[in-house]
């Protein structure tokens, strides 16, 4: 069936900000979808609140709305744009849920919009647990015994019928939020009550625990004719019980004989058929390891994280094919893009294995609970390909940037055997390393299998790794192709992975071809797994760098290991090497490619960290030199530079011990900022207000990092300003500042967690000029060629430099989109040697557009139990959204709505602030009262507010009164917002931390900075609502 000619204008909904459970994979999917629609000349209207995406780029869609992903906004966009169709399956759970709401309340019918891909009935059958179960029973597919509960007593009754242990799964939550395993009634009551609260429809499923069964996934593709194929099978290293997003996964399955494999394959096909899926679908099944007994766990009738992994693991572009199916094509009409001769209606076969390893945020969040279960906690993942599991696993570990090159986790080496045995009972992010350590201590595969139920096959593989003599990466490394077909057909897409032992290097013919074409080759390093502090924005930057280089006539080579990204799409660069971003792996590629140079400045900290090592090996770094990068990272060299340039920075020094730190802090005067040198996203950074804080911090930091000194700085509380600039080097002397941003929150909150406003409104032209001059001075001194991001603090009318990052920053996509200045393109061109003036850009601060754009951070706190939600110098947000408006008030309102704030304008607010914030709380309180909120406060705050003339109800702290306190108040649902600031934080035992966790669980917005609270109050008073904001197509914005 060819293209449905009735489709002329399609609305594509993206997945919004990066949160745990919904990461960069949907930018990859959405971008592919838009390209497919473009191929068929379909007009595209795109909606996504996340600016750090390729899909919101002007050349991807015709109309682009960076607007809140809310039902109201989508409806308004449909009314404005009048698309004839809407694509539902590519925007993650967010996009799917929105489409379902639109379909269910009749809006789509009313507007004459057809839902492309799977129908609402299909989606319901898959997503509604009860209908799903009934559908499965109808077709004879086994499901896990379960029941649906809308209240706790029913949940308990069901559990008694089924028998413990039971799994609690809340309905319609992202990444299984709020689920868990209960072994008894007490646990069940606790987990179920939380799950019920988090479920938007107050519903949980209670099901029998099948702990220890194998977890198997199939990625299925079905077209409207009914043709079905399996794109990829996957087997989880971790048995059922660990969320698949938190499991180590191998593709294809390895421990299933053909009988079991075909049984589950057929089951997946029958399921997808019964649901009537049109497009991609992920089926998760559990298999009893001792029989043919199996059960269907769940299905996702859409493109998912697993499908991104399957796409990269096989080379089969699932999102692309799913979109083609949605617009009418059948599988046999779609060309296999990899071979370009065969069709999409075949099953990829691998002649290698792909291993996925999750990337967890626990290195930053030392107090977050590390236990893995049904709630996904990973922020990102790496994939590694090799011709055996052992090598692939080691590559994955290397590439996950854990500081490990083997499975030896140093901190386990001093544990006793009984301690190791104890650790084996815990399923945490470290289980892989604990298993390895256990094998080293002589605990047998059988024993390990008995304890953990991890399949013996995987355990033997770990043992094989242990038994190998310490093998460095072999110098016989060569490259093989991912071709979807096991070598049966010639593949045209150069997508490679290394193996340690072989005869033929398949990359060579492609390189020879390029040598003949006389094109120069450039290697662009990607940014590795998504983690807090290094998100999708760096993939955005890499992709733009690659596109620019290709346009300039260079041949581009990407090295990256993140399967969720656009940069690892096989047609982004001329050649893709799916390899860890570690020096030896990168050098292997460089040795055969012999590029004119390597670009490290777009791949975030991951790539920049390699600059020095590459330089030492004689590799040309294109753009800002490795030495300049080092100056910015090396405290002493940086201080010397600033001194020479007569630029101020907060005073500080380096320390190695707790005693030194306390000494230094006393000299500088509290509060002080503490952090390790070489930081990423404010990793392990705190503000210390007193000696105790220093002791606590040094205790943690000395435990996790080794030889690097700790930096201790005077903390200046002022206006934080961020500048992104492009410089074409000292010789050319051109420097362009596309935008200056100011943060709503004062210094002390990580820039990634701050609300950033562009253009700035509160700094004078003189200060702006001053900022330009200082930026120029620094860039010239560092001979920056490309992008630089500088963070300043304006403190008592003086400008201080906090940090200089001579590379693409988090804000680059945001500023590029709002100003229309193609920052990555310009930066790429100047790093290759072009002049800004020749590119049509004069030096200076760029003209500001008639719009304000506000970046609002988004957090995944509900996924990370135990983590204090108080913001500080350590970054905690996982993603961001953008609000664009005529005024900063409108932009902020949209930004807050997009970030998930409900913006209730009446009700009650609970205020509990530290003494230092009390002076400023009155003006915020006034605004809130003006809005019509009633006030609750804890004793100290209440006393203060009462004295200031407010009517306040005093609430006891949790530790002061057991049954009538702040926690019970929150549970009563009387409170809409909480303002909670405290000097002490982090430790989950603290009262303030408990109340913030409670708020997070209950979904009550909790503002932990006085500045954020003030901005919110202003926004609530601004008179904006979701209906009166302007919908802005940023494609028109760029022509201002």
């Amino acid at each position: 069936m060819p293209l449905n000619k009735a489709i002329k204008k399609v609305l594509v909904i993206g997945s919004g900000p990066i949160v745990i459970g919904q990461a960069a994979e949907f930018d990859y999917a959405g971008t592919q979808a838009c390209r497919v629609l473009r191929e068929d000349n379909i007009e595209i209207v795109l909606l996504n609140s996340n600016p750090a995406t390729i899909m919101t780029d002007k050349n991807i869609a015709d109309k682009i709305y960076i607007e809140p992903l809310t039902l109201t906004t989508v409806k308004r966009i449909i009314e404005k744009e009048r698309p004839d169709s809407i694509l539902s399956g590519l925007g993650g759970q967010t996009g799917l849920t929105l489409c379902m709401q639109l379909a269910k309340d009749g809006f789509l019918d009313k507007m004459g919009v057809q839902l492309l891909g799977s129908s609402p009935e299909t989606i319901d059958k898959a997503e509604d647990r009860q209908i799903f179960k009934e559908t499965m029973q109808k077709i004879g597919q086994p499901v896990i015994p379960s029941g649906i509960a809308s209240d706790i007593d029913t949940a308990v009754k069901i559990a008694e019928e089924i028998g413990y242990s039971v799994v609690v799964r809340p309905a319609f939550t992202l990444g299984g939020s709020g689920g868990g395993i209960a072994d008894n009634e007490t646990q069940l009551r606790k987990i179920a009550s939380n799950g019920l609260k988090l479920s938007p429809i107050t519903q949980v499923m209670i099901e029998k625990s099948i702990k220890g069964w194998k977890e198997i996934e199939f990625e299925v593709m079905r077209d409207r004719v009914g043709n079905v194929i399996i794109v990829c099978s996957m087997e989880n290293f971790d048995p059922v019980g660990v969320h698949t997003g938190d499991s180590i996964v191998i593709a294809p399955t390895v421990t299933l004989a053909d009988r079991e494999y075909q049984m589950l394959r057929t089951a997946s096909i029958e399921i997808v058929k019964a649901l009537g899926v049109e497009g991609g679908c992920n089926c998760q099944l559990a298999l009893n390891p001792h029989s043919f007994e199996y059960a269907v766990i769940e299905v996702n009738p859409r493109v998912s994280r697993s499908s991104a992994l399957a796409s990269k693991a096989t080379g089969y572009p699932i999102a692309k094919v799913a979109t083609k199916i949605a617009i009418g094509y059948s599988l046999d009409e779609i060309i296999n893009a990899v071979t370009q001769t065969t069709r999409a209606s075949f099953e990829p076969t691998l002649d290698y294995v792909a291993v996925k390893l999750p990337k967890w945020p626990f290195d930053k969040f030392v107090y977050a609970q590390k236990e893995l279960g049904t709630q996904m906690k990973a922020t990102g993942e790496v994939m590694a390909i090799a011709d055996n599991f052992e090598d692939a696993l080691l590559k994955a570990v290397r590439g996950a940037e854990l500081g490990l090159h083997t499975l030896d986790l140093p901190r386990l080496s001093d544990k006793s055997v009984p301690q190791i045995r104890e650790l084996l009972d815990r399923v945490t992010d470290q289980r892989l390393f604990v298993l390895y350590e256990a094998l080293k201590r002589g605990i047998s595969v059988e024993q390990l299998h008995d304890i953990t139920k991890v399949d013996r096959w995987f355990l033997h593989a770990l043992k094989n790794i242990k038994d190998r003599s310490q093998l460095p990466i072999s110098n016989r490394q060569l490259f093989k192709m991912v071709d979807t077909c096991g070598g049966e057909f010639e593949a045209k897409t150069p997508y490679f992975y290394s193996i340690n032992n072989g005869m033929e290097n398949e990359a060579l013919p492609f390189i020879e071809q390029s040598q003949k074409s006389q094109k120069q080759r450039v290697v662009v390093l990607g940014s590795g797994p998504i983690r807090i502090g290094q998100g999708i924005e760096f993939d955005y930057a890499c992709v733009h760098c690659v596109w620019t280089l290709r346009k300039m006539g260079y041949e581009t080579i990407v090295i990256n290991n993140n399967p969720e990204t656009v940069s690892t799409d096989f047609d982004t660069a001329d050649r893709l090497y799916f390899e860890p971003l570690c020096i030896d792996d990168v050098m292997s590629v460089i040795e055969i490619e012999k590029p004119i140079g390597v670009i490290v400045s777009f791949g975030g900290g991951t790539a920049v960290k390699l600059a020095n090592k590459l330089h030492e090996r004689g590799v040309n770094i294109i753009g800002t030199s490795a030495d300049s990068i080092d100056i910015c990272e090396d405290r002493e060299r940086f201080d010397t530079l600033l001194e020479r340039l007569e630029i101020k920075r907060p005073q500080g020094s380096c320390v190695m011990s707790t005693a030194q730190a306390i000494n230094a802090a006393e000299k500088l005067g509290y509060p002080v900022l503490l952090r390790p040198s070489y930081v990423l996203g404010g990793q392990n950074m705190v503000i210390a207000f007193n000696e105790n804080d220093i002791r606590e911090y040094m205790g943690i930091i000395l435990n996790t990092t080794q030889d690097n000194p700790i930096l201790i700085d005077k903390y200046l509380s002022g206006l934080e300003i961020e500048v992104d600039a492009i410089c074409d080097g000292a010789k050319n002397g051109g420097i362009l500042i596309p935008g200056i941003m100011e943060h709503i929150e004062r210094t002390g909150i990580h820039s990634g967690d701050s609300i950033a406003v562009y253009p700035t409104s509160s700094i004078s032209p003189a200060v702006k000029q001053n900022l330009f001059d200082i930026t120029k001075k620094i860039c010239m001194a560092l001979n920056v060629r490309g992008l630089v991001n500088i963070q300043y603090v304006l403190y008592q009318d003086e400008i201080y430099v906090i940090e200089v990052n001579p590379r693409a920053s988090r804000t680059v996509p945001y500023i590029s989109k709002v100003t229309g200045i193609p920052m990555c393109e310009l930066a790429t061109k100047v790093s290759i040697g072009e002049k800004l003036s020749d590119l049509g850009y004069a030096s200076g601060i760029a003209k500001t557009p008639p719009y304000t754009a506000v970046k609002v951070p988004v957090f995944s706190f509900e996924k990370l139990a135990g983590l204090d939600t108080h913001l500080g110098p350590e970054m905690k947000s996982t993603g961001e959204v953008l609000g664009i408006g005529k005024t900063s008030a409108e932009a902020l309102f949209k930004g807050l709505v997009a970030a998930g704030y409900k913006m209730n304008k009446s009700g009650a607010v609970l205020i509990t602030v530290r003494d230092s914030d009390k002076a400023e709380i009155t003006k915020i309180t006034e605004k809130l009262v003006k809005c019509g909120f009633s006030l609750y406060a804890t004793k100290g705050t209440a006393d203060f507010l009462t004295k200031s003339g407010f009517k306040v109800k005093t609430v006891e702290k949790i530790s002061d009164c057991a049954d009538n306190n702040t926690a019970t108040l929150l549970e009563s649902k009387k409170v809409n917002y909480i303002i909670s600031t405290s000097e002490k934080g982090r430790d989950p035992a603290f009262d303030d931390v408990k109340i913030r966790r409670k708020a997070c669980k209950l979904g009550i917005p909790c503002l932990t900075s006085i500045d954020t609270a003030n901005a919110l109050a202003d926004s609530l008073l601004s008179g904006f609502d979701e209906f009166n904001t302007e919908l802005i197509d940023i494609n028109t914005l760029q022509h201002f």
Partner: protein, 358 residues
């Protein structure tokens, strides 16, 4: 395991690897299969007679040795090549590991070679012969020409059963003409949709008259090894023609399909490197539906208008005959491979039942 061994190709290319399974020298036609599961079914498939099987999936032996999954009692293949044989398999049904199994069965095997490079040589140059030996063969060696001269001959006779056997009880009778039949075929026939069938297997050289004496309600022509156009097959083709003329519904699979086609005047030709694997798309030209099939064949029937076609290369995958007979190039019984076309047995048995009541 671990002794160095070599594979010398007929074009002189040598691969150095390690030996496992039985020790010894062996020559054969190298064919690659892309299936990721089903190595036991592959190894015991009689259609591989005289061939050296090359697995493109690098991890073989993961789930050990499971006799219940064998497609015949013996290994007819000449030798086996894999990248990484698994020494510590894991599966609840496993009764051993691959190395020992191959050694016990006397099958020479080679591992730790660049299997992808070898696959590509075959893809680019076509199927070729090779020899596994302890020392590489020089092109000027007197025995080198033996490699090139090797061909699979009298293949059917080597793997077909020796005597007529009744496999099962049931009300309708099916004659299974065994050219090297996989067990899976009979399994698909004996019991289906709550009905039992009386299945008889016949050696390849049974005459049509003898088969017809059973008064079968359906005739199944099995898969098997070798070149269908081999001279030795002429009497078989004549038998098949007679059987088809009997108006009893015939169903041919793989070699059975080719022999049926030849009996009706079609010609066959050798494919460059064949179709072997579990992912071959086959399109029903009458409905437009595409099915994923399990395949293992090196020859194709030349038929411009087929009922079923291969989506990748357009080759004939199935023929429908006016007298109620039909045949497919792939393996609807799967084992290993997808079960998507198992419904063809329903189609056949429906015709059997119709024939029986006529």
């Amino acid at each position: 395991m671990n002794n160095t061994a070599y594979l010398t190709l007929q074009n002189g290319v040598v691969f150095k690897g390690k030996s496992f399974g039985a020790s010894g020298e062996v020559t054969g036609e190298i064919v690659f299969t892309t299936g990721m599961t089903g190595y036991l079914e592959t190894l015991t498939d009689p259609s591989y007679y005289g061939q050296i099987i090359l697995q493109t999936f690098p991890l073989i032996g993961n789930y050990g040795v499971i006799p219940a999954d064998f497609e015949s009692e013996t290994i007819s293949a000449a030798a086996y090549i894999v990248k990484n044989p698994c020494q510590n398999p894991s599966n609840f049904r496993s009764e051993g590991e691959l190395d020992t199994f191959l050694r016990e069965r006397g099958i020479v095997a080679l591992y730790d070679i660049d299997t992808r490079a070898l696959t590509k040589i075959i893809r680019q140059n076509g199927v070729m012969n090779g020899k596994i030996s302890a020392e590489p063969l020089q092109t000027d060696s007197p025995t080198f020409s033996d490699i090139k001269n090797y061909s699979v001959e009298n293949a059917i006779a080597a793997v077909s059963c020796r005597k007529i056997t009744k496999l099962s009880e049931g009300e309708r009778k099916i004659a299974l003409l065994d050219f090297g039949a996989k067990k899976g075929i009979a399994e698909c026939l004996t019991k289906r949709n709550c009905r039992s069938y009386e299945v008889w297997t016949f050696p390849h050289n049974t005459s049509a008259a003898q088969i017809l004496q059973l008064n079968p309600h359906g005739i199944m022509l099995s898969n098997g090894p070798g070149d269908p156009a081999e001279a030795a097959n002429i009497p078989i083709i004549n038998t098949v023609r007679e059987l088809m003329e009997s108006k009893i519904p015939c169903f041919g699979i793989c070699l059975g399909h080719q022999l049926m086609a030849m009996s009706q005047g079609y010609k066959t030709r050798k494919l460059k490197f064949g179709h072997r694997g579990a992912n071959q798309p086959v399109k029903d030209t009458s409905t437009g539906r595409v099915y994923i099939t399990s395949q293992n064949h090196g020859y194709e029937v030349i038929a411009p208008h087929s009922w079923l076609n291969n989506v990748n290369d357009g080759t004939c995958e199935g023929l429908d005959y006016p007298n109620g007979s039909f045949s497919v190039q792939f393996h609807p019984e799967a084992k290993g491979g997808p079960l998507d076309t198992e419904f063809l047995f329903n189609k056949f048995l429906e015709r059997v039942n119709n024939y029986a009541v006529k």
